[in-house]
């Protein structure tokens, strides 16, 4: 039932043509606006068709996203978007399906579905809006909130350790993981484009600022003055260097099996000592994904991209093979042991 409609080659749509006629209802200054713009730009750049594009979301601020897109959209229930999106792909794998959710939606109530969509490798783009807080329910701490987060439900500071999305999804068998910042549009568009190009489950973690309940929670990573030291932009085949003048880098210490931050030219460290990024190296991706301040920069860009056969494509192949000899209902009812009763 792969409904591929043959169409005339059409000119790519502009970003604006991917906006719906609905008034956007996020708080003024919310990082979601920037992500929405980046998504519309991405779809335009990749030449997406509105009719073939589906946005599926769960519940939360981020999950309102589909209403603001002019594509097909399904705003579902809390945490279940990856499961619903999986069903969409099982019915019609030709559709291009994006899953939108926040940290509560995709990692708390829906953590199980995120895990299984990823380990099954369903061909979905999962865009995680991580603002480390529950916004729509007015500011409770979330599964990605740092320890000690004060919120209406944790007035004395949260006690539980946060979940790190990168190591979580890589541990679940993800074949693609990228990270970007809401307002760093070129990098975000790049990450979304790469996620789209990747065949299989591709999760992009977007560090997204909640201006009302968790404002500035990523400032130490994203602030203009500190970003160059707090972020390392990874690129396949390029050395893992960062810092204002690019003199800092990441080196692997085989004795401790850990990454370390080095300065080129100091303590006998040469350019060749810095690791070169390999997007197909899961171990490296996992080490990079786990890096956090203050000892390490946060890794941005495509940390891991190593495609494997997708679940929906394999299901479809199995179906097409079976349908080469389509079943007949009469034949089905008459199969097995039957007998005639005669008057």
């Amino acid at each position: 039932m792969t409904d591929t409609v043959v169409r005339e080659h059409a000119a790519p749509l502009s970003p604006k043509e991917f906006a719906s006629d609905q008034e956007v209802r996020w708080c003024p200054g919310c990082g979601d606006y920037a992500i929405l713009k980046a998504m519309q730009k991405t779809l335009s750049e990749i030449g997406a068709r509105r009719e073939d594009t589906v946005f599926v979301s769960g519940i939360g601020c981020a999950a309102r996203f589909p209403y603001y897109m002019s594509t097909y959209g399904f705003h579902t229930i809390h945490g279940r978007a990856p499961a619903i999106a999986t069903g969409v792909k099982l019915a019609n794998p030709a559709l291009d399906v994006w899953v939108i959710g926040g940290d509560g939606d995709m990692l708390s109530i829906g953590g199980n579905h995120t895990l299984h969509a990823i380990r099954r490798n369903v061909d979905l783009q999962l865009i995680l809006f991580n603002n480390e807080i529950y916004g729509l329910t007015k500011g409770q701490y979330s599964p990605t909130s740092r320890r000690g987060t004060r919120s209406p439900s944790t007035p004395g500071g949260s006690l539980d350790a946060p979940l790190h999305p990168g190591p979580f999804v890589l541990g679940a068998g993800a074949r693609f993981f990228a990270r970007a910042v809401d307002v760093q549009q070129p990098q975000l568009v790049h990450a979304l484009t790469r996620a789209h190009a990747h065949s299989g489950a591709a999760l992009v973690e977007v560090l997204q600022n909640c201006v009302v309940f968790n404002d500035g929670v990523f400032d130490h990573i994203t602030a203009r003055e500190s970003a160059s030291d707090a972020q390392v932009h990874v690129e396949h085949g390029r050395p893992l260097r960062f810092g204002k003048d690019g003199t800092r880098g990441l080196r692997f210490d085989p004795r401790t099996m850990r990454l370390e931050v080095v300065t080129i030219g100091a303590n006998g460290v040469g350019e060749d000592d810095v690791l070169v990024h390999d997007q197909t190296n899961r171990v490296l991706a996992t080490l990079l994904a786990a890096m956090e301040p203050p000892d390490f920069p946060v890794a941005m860009g495509v940390l891991y991209d190593d495609p494997a056969p997708t679940y929906d494509a394999e299901v479809e192949q199995e179906m097409q093979r079976a349908l080469e000899a389509p079943g007949d209902v009469a034949e089905l009812l008459n199969s097995g042991r039957t007998w005639m009763v005669i008057e």
């Binding site: 039932m1 409904d3 409609v5 169409r7 719906s20 609905q22 068709r49 509105r50 009719e51 073939d52 589906v54 519940i59 589909p66 209403y67 897109m69 002019s70 594509t71 097909y72 959209g73 399904f74 705003h75 579902t76 229930i77 279940r80 499961a83 619903i84 999106a85 999986t86 069903g87 969409v88 792909k89 099982l90 019915a91 019609n92 030709a94 559709l95 199980n112 579905h113 299984h116 299901v315 199995e318 179906m319 079976a322 349908l323 000899a325 389509p326 079943g327 209902v329 009469a330 089905l332 009812l333 008459n334 097995g336 042991r337 039957t338 007998w339 005639m340 009763v341 005669i342 008057e343």
Partner: protein, 629 residues
Amino acid sequence: MSASVTPTPTANPPRPREPREAVVIRFAGDSGDGMQLTGSQFTLETALAGNDLATFPNFPAEIRAPVGTTFGVSSFQIHFGSQQVRSAGDELDVLVAMNPAAFKVHVRDVRPGGLVVVDSATFTERNLARAGYEGNPLENGAAAAVRTMPLDISRLTLDAVRELGLSQKEALRCRNMWALGLMLWMYGRDRDATVAWLNRKFARSPVIAQANVAALNAGHAFGETAELSGSMTGYAVPRAALEPGLYRTVTGTEALAWGLVAGARAAGIARVVLGSYPITPASPLLHVLAGLRRHGVVTFQAEDEIAAVCAAIGAAYAGALGVTSSSGPGIALKMEAIGLALAAELPLVVVNSQRGGPSTGLPTKTEQSDLFQAVYGRNADAPLPVIAAATPSDCFEVAIEAVRLATRYMTPVMLLTDGYLANAAEPWRVPDTDALPSLPVRYRTESGGFQPYLRDDRTLARAWVKPGTPGLEHRIGGLERSFETGHISYDPENHHRMTMVRAAKIDGIADDIPAQRVEVGASRGALAVVGWGSTYGPIRNAVERVRADGLEVSHIHLRHIHPFPRNLGALLAGFDRILVPEMNNGQLATILRARFLVNAEGLNRVAGVPFRVAEVVDAIRARVGGASA
């Protein structure tokens, strides 16, 4: 009788068999003794012999409980006869008990004077103690009301397979086939289908196949020989006068799966997507549908019940027939998502194979206690159609009806079956597929004037649009939406209006279903016995029995429970009394009382097993008089 009878060939003609109109046999043993396979094969041979029949497989939740314990006993009951058979039978004519535990659990169900065949070799001190016996019930008169026939089935089986060089353990695993052979002889059934089945099943280990066939033949030969010595009687159960046609046996699970496929075909839907998570007793539906790829069925074993229903909803959104299947606890988990399908107005078939509850309850036992859950069990005002299957073969038609309602009204439909229907088998006259209804769905493709929640004037259903259709891009979801545009709306009047239109859409289905008919009896009278689901057989038998004694009693059996057929209230008003037998604590009775302000009285039995006909008969007589049976 002696256990040492050895079959010897003879040329003497056999005595004529004693005729019987109907017989109930139960095979019982350890859960590893192969009782379900034994019963299934006896069922097949009986169906091929032309009898009508009903079966009742009953097994523990434990896969292999400790050997010899009463809680590990598995059984398979079959009721067959030369008349229409509608229930699995109240009392046993024959019990085959493979060990003391099976004897202990089941002997109480044998009618006075009934036959109990036991494997005497298993009645050791150790096994008796394990079953909780202090003495040997075969010797101490504890089972005096029944005719016990102790046979050393273990040794006779070992003898039969000796030449094949199996280990003792392997050889003893053929005991069930020996017992089956004996029963097939006793009721004059063929063995051909069973031999063919054994050869297929053990195609990779021909020695095991040979051993099973040898045991089967030995049991059969034992009967022949014993008859000659006058120690055993053969019976004949004449063919039933079934409607002419092509027949097969079918379980509720098979009929349901095939009905879903037939329904999708009738609707012109190319793909069925089943989202399911394993749960007793619903898993067999997943298994059967998993084998129907050639019929366009994708089966998705999800990570949990919620993902299972959500995948089905996603598939429905994308234009496939979304189906999810579970049992009570799993349905509870799915309910929020079913509310989404209802609010988003997407077609979805939800199958609930009910089991004993609450909570984990009795996973392998049957019950009808999810009716409230089906009708009312969602947050908010959230009506959806609820339909129920009455018999294994009825599952076929009810599945087609579920597809029809779901797609015509763009709504989730709850289809209720239960553990009994899922596993029970009966002969089924294979329907003519050319005569099946045509229920084509129409996916909207024209974009002019489109709004996602514009409704059909008659059905009040919105249009079904497949993503991928140019010009019809739209957004739907669980938030309340404007009646006019489908955009998010918090307007108070709009919410009221939407609540009412959702209710009116489902209520309108009452005009699109057949008027409620009376199964047996007049449409007015002293008492109506009103049932739903798998109580059909016992109620029907009970009503026929009391009517034969001249009582003015009718049987009404509901397929459509929400909404009810339009005439149901008027129909019930024509009876002085209303009795509602249910395997729950009075759920349909409560709904009938609330809906029609009638004095519906419950006959409630929640024991994990189907009603006995006599229980229903007694309840009827207690209300409208007449001597007890």
